[in-house]
Amino acid sequence: MDVLYFAWVRERIGTPKDKVDTEAATVRDLVEELRAREPRYEAAFADLSALRVAVDQELADFDAPLAGVREVAFFPPMTGG
């Protein structure tokens, strides 16, 4: 599964993308796995209320299931326009 990071999430983690091999059932489970990796992940995911998530390029919530999913992205609230 591709895991993408944007804006300050990308900066904090230090990469725009990870290839992740996971059995995580939901986004929240995936977050816990990532958090356990290294302090920079722990820092990026410290406050989930400051983050948004997209699953296969659709906005989703942290309870979204990951079965069959190819791409998950984490980012701060959007500021377009």
Binding site: F6, Q57, L59, A73, T79, G80
Partner: protein, 146 residues
């Protein structure tokens, strides 16, 4: 329907003229254009990051919803990414409808959704360093009216 996400500048004049000219039977055209403001008084670059792929999907969905909801003749969305300077045009939307109220409402709806639901992020680089623009509560609240 015309949705473009691009790094190069766009020409508001050309876009507005061509958009109005290709309508038929529409009495009202509204355009909104967003411009980089030198908010920080010392802004050197406004950097806009986006999520290629998802951005186009999100903008297309928003535009289709606006078109269906207000019976629009046409919708245009152009949004830039990359590094912009003060007074450069960031983005524009255009809507065409038979009556003015629909064209106005659709344009406001597009802007409200685009602000908070299209995957763009702005970072201001100024004299005193760089910082990500925080989402504003008013922008999130603006969605409630639709």
């Amino acid at each position: 329907m015309d949705i473009r996400v691009q790094e190069v500048p766009f020409d508001l004049g050309e876009e507005a003229r061509a958009f109005a000219a290709r309508q038929s039977g529409m009495g009202a055209v509204v355009t909104f254009t967003g411009i980089v403001r030198d908010v920080a008084e010392g802004l050197e670059v406004m950097e806009i990051e986006h999520y290629p792929g998802m951005t186009e999907r999100a903008l297309t969905r928003i535009a289709e919803e606006a078109r269906a909801r207000w019976g629009l003749g046409d919708v245009l969305v152009v949004h830039r990414f990359g590094r912009l300077r003060a007074d450069e045009l960031i983005m524009m939307v255009a809507t065409a409808a038979r009556h003015r109220a629909d064209a106005f409402q659709a344009a406001e709806f597009l802007m409200d959704y685009l602000k908070s639901r299209a995957p763009f992020w702005k970072k201001e680089h100024g004299r005193d360093g760089a910082s990500w623009v925080a989402a504003r509560d008013e922008d999130e609240d603006a969605l409630d009216r639709w």
